[in-house]
């Protein structure tokens, strides 16, 4: 399995030119100062918490050879650009920007600081040679969740709390639905959009709205534990999943499993590459196989046979023998998308702006 895909074409050419001009690169650094920009608070128990765990792992791994700094609650927009610039001015050698909305700011600041490396999570723009992007194939984890959801629902109504209607989220919803439907053809999916990454009150409202509709399995694509806290109030009627972090405090129910974002290996590898001089621009998109996406323990609240099926699904995705988007799959409007046996190319997943057939409702636009 290819561990990382190095960019081809223009970007690589630019990079090579830069290498020619600056050979110092290859020598590695004595000490690395690594900066992390977070969209939420490090105590969110989800997305930002996991990135911060990765940052702490870097500190642990390299000790005195690395200094880790971070800034939490940085709004996506003009403020991000300033936070990034100040970090670059403070002498950071590498800066990880851990939310999609930092894309333009990351590229703008990177152009002004060619000697600083920028790593943007979940983005796709690499305007200059010092910008790399990294992401995880969360949709692989959604397939496992979808299977559990389909098997576990008693009302045949499952729910999904979306953050923003961007391809990243839409592909998760599609994967979740496809595998729930495969496990239980009678299943219906309701999607509620929270329009936030982190807002426990809004996330709780979204969960309540779903529960009121009769939904008894909730998956979420937001950062806090609020949806699980709502599910916990229903005395076992509603279950959900840990999102981004294991959220093990809600075990064994309502949290019956989880998707864990495991950024530590990537962060350690990238900072290590700066230290030993092997650093190069990359565009990484790893999943279960690469270890970036982990499936948290499936608890005893799930029957043993369902658990075994879910684990088998996880292992086949991890081994690369099964792709969660394998045809035949139609789009919501009934038009054909993937033919029998065909798998979705990465490019189409990264721009996914449609629901698959069977999901009701529209993607807000």
């Amino acid at each position: 399995m290819q561990r990382r895909s190095i960019l081809k074409g223009g970007a690589a050419l630019g990079f090579a030119t830069m290498m020619g001009g600056k050979l110092a690169f290859a020598q590695g650094l004595e000490k690395v100062k690594a900066g992390f920009i977070y969209v939420g608070p490090i105590g969110d128990g989800g997305w930002t918490f996991q990135h911060h765990q990765g940052a702490l792992a870097v500190q642990q791994e390299y000790g005195d050879k690395v200094e880790v700094v971070w800034q939490e609650n940085v709004p996506e927009g003009a403020d991000a650009e300033r936070a990034l610039t100040q970090m670059a001015l403070s002498g950071c050698n590498i800066i990880f920007t851990t939310s999609f909305g930092y894309m333009d700011a990351t590229n703008a600041v990177a152009a002004k600081f060619p000697d600083v490396k920028f790593e943007h999570a979940t983005g796709y723009k690499r305007d200059s040679a010092n910008v790399s992007t990294y992401n995880a194939r969360f949709y692989e984890g959604r397939a496992v969740q979808g299977h559990i959801a389909g098997k576990m629902t008693k009302t045949n109504k499952i729910g999904y709390i979306g953050s923003f209607p961007i391809p990243e989220v839409v592909m998760g919803i599609n994967s979740y639905y496809l595998h729930a439907k495969k496990a239980n053809p009678a299943v219906e999916l309701s999607v509620v959009w929270a329009f936030t990454w982190f807002d426990p009150a809004k996330e709780a409202d979204a969960a309540k709205a779903l529960i009121d509709q009769g939904v008894d399995v909730i998956a979420s694509h937001t950062d806090s534990t609020a949806p699980l806290a709502e599910a916990a109030k229903t005395e076992g009627k509603v279950i959900g999943f840990g999102q981004a972090s294991d959220m093990s405090e809600y075990k064994p129910s309502p949290r019956v499993s989880s998707i864990i974002d495991n950024w530590a290996p990537y962060y350690i590898k990238r900072v290590g590459a700066l230290l030993d001089g092997s650093y190069a621009q990359v565009d990484v998109w790893e999943g279960i196989g690469g270890g970036e996406v982990q499936i948290g323990e499936i608890t005893d609240a799930v029957p043993a046979d369902v658990k075994a099926e879910a684990e088998a699904l996880r292992d086949s995705i991890g081994a690369g023998t099964y792709h969660p988007f394998t045809g035949p799959i139609n789009k919501q409007d009934g038009s054909a998308w993937l033919a029998e046996g065909a798998t979705a190319p990465d490019g189409e997943l990264l721009g996914m702006n449609f629901y698959v057939e069977g999901i009701t409702g529209d993607i807000p636009s």
Partner: protein, 362 residues
């Protein structure tokens, strides 16, 4: 024993001194908070107030950023202060700021890709109109139906946020953006951009407008009949009515001016520092401006200084956040303390502190 005695008239000395005292008290209380968090309080305070201005490593970048951050705050706060003086409480500047940006950007995007520089003035007019329109809703509901403008203007912020999200995801979405939310980047379109006017200064049209508005507001309050009416309506509403000031007209005027200026700030932000209509475009300038207005004693020149000070705590706070590892909540608490202490020591303007028991009433 301590006892408060009402002053016959507000103390001019304390009017000027309370903001300074509030800043000093905030530094002390904030320092204690930072110490409790295990950080060196002197270093934290220095990082917040000194480093953005004078630290060799950051100052050349953060000094101009002060203007970028203070510009919209001053623009909005000056508008709000007029209403606040007259007892008209526009709490929804955040929503008017959003609507100004949407209207302004909307005109620009509708004309895209027209390349004449005339597009920008048109967008400015649209931005002011958007903010004005959004402020007219609570103003007219108040004058016609006696609704509470505090509630209506505040709740309209949430309406504006939803319109903003819908614009970013739908009507104004960048057709070349690969399906991602957010409009075209206006700051990269020459005919629509609000660029840095002199490189390295942070000076953009929004900052220029803020300075002009401060001067205009100052002159109006000192010399113009409208300024007199605003002050009179706030200090003695009955006297104002006898003097022929129409409360309805004043409400519409003050709400309109503050809304228009908030819309203007939104327009300059969306064409400059923010660059695009996005779901998270607004970052709370409209609410922070309320603090700035009071910190500046509702006085245009005071607001100018207060806006710069507030910007300093933001930029210094960001610096402290990552150089010292301070949690962002601590920075927000620190900023909150500023308003708290300001309101607390404001007491000194109208009251005198006396020691000893009360003697016979005079």
């Amino acid at each position: 024993m301590l006892r408060l005695e009402k002053r016959p008239s507000p103390s001019r000395f304390w009017q000027g001194a309370t903001p300074v005292l509030a800043v000093v008290l905030t530094m002390i209380a904030g320092g204690i908070m930072f110490a409790l968090l295990g950080k060196n309080p002197v270093e934290a305070i220095r990082t917040i107030f000194w480093d953005p201005l004078f630290n060799a490593q950051y100052a050349s970048y953060s000094r101009p950023q002060l203007l970028v951050k203070a510009g919209p705050l001053i623009l909005i706060a000056t508008g709000l202060s007029l209403g606040f003086r007259a007892g008209i409480w526009n709490i929804g500047a955040e929503g008017q700021y959003i609507m100004g940006a949407i209207f302004g950007a909307g005109v620009g995007l509708a004309l895209y890709p027209v390349e004449t520089r005339l597009v920008f003035p048109l967008m400015i007019v649209a931005g002011i109109f958007g903010g004005w329109l959004w402020a007219m809703i609570p103003a007219i509901l108040k004058t016609r139906f006696r609704t509470n403008e505090i509630l209506v203007s505040l709740l309209l912020v949430y309406v504006a946020q939803n319109i903003l999200a819908s614009m970013a995801l739908g009507l104004m979405k960048n057709p070349e953006g690969g399906g991602f939310p957010g409009s075209r980047n206006l700051s990269q379109i020459p005919s629509m951009a609000n660029p840095e006017l002199i490189p390295g200064t942070g000076l953009h049209w929004g900052v220029v407008a803020a300075i002009i508005v401060v001067i205009a507001a100052y002159i109006m309050l000192q010399r113009h009949i409208l300024g007199f009416q605003i002050k009179l309506a706030g200090q003695a509403p009955r006297a104002a009515r006898f003097a022929g000031v129409s409360p309805e007209r004043l409400t519409v005027l003050c709400m309109g001016i503050s809304g228009g200026l908030a819309g203007l700030a939104g327009l300059f932000e969306v064409t400059g520092p923010a660059g695009q209509i996005s779901i998270d475009f607004n970052t709370g300038y409209g609410f922070t401006a309320i603090i700035v207005a009071f910190l500046g004693r509702l006085n245009p020149l005071g607001i100018l200084l207060a806006g710069l000070l507030m910007a300093l705590t933001y930029i210094g706070g960001e610096l402290a956040s990552f150089t010292l590892g301070l949690p962002s909540a601590a920075i927000q608490a620190f900023q909150g303390m500023l308003l708290f202490f300001l309101l607390a020591v404001d007491l000194l303007t109208n009251f005198r502190i006396r020691f000893g028991t009360k003697k016979e009433a005079v």
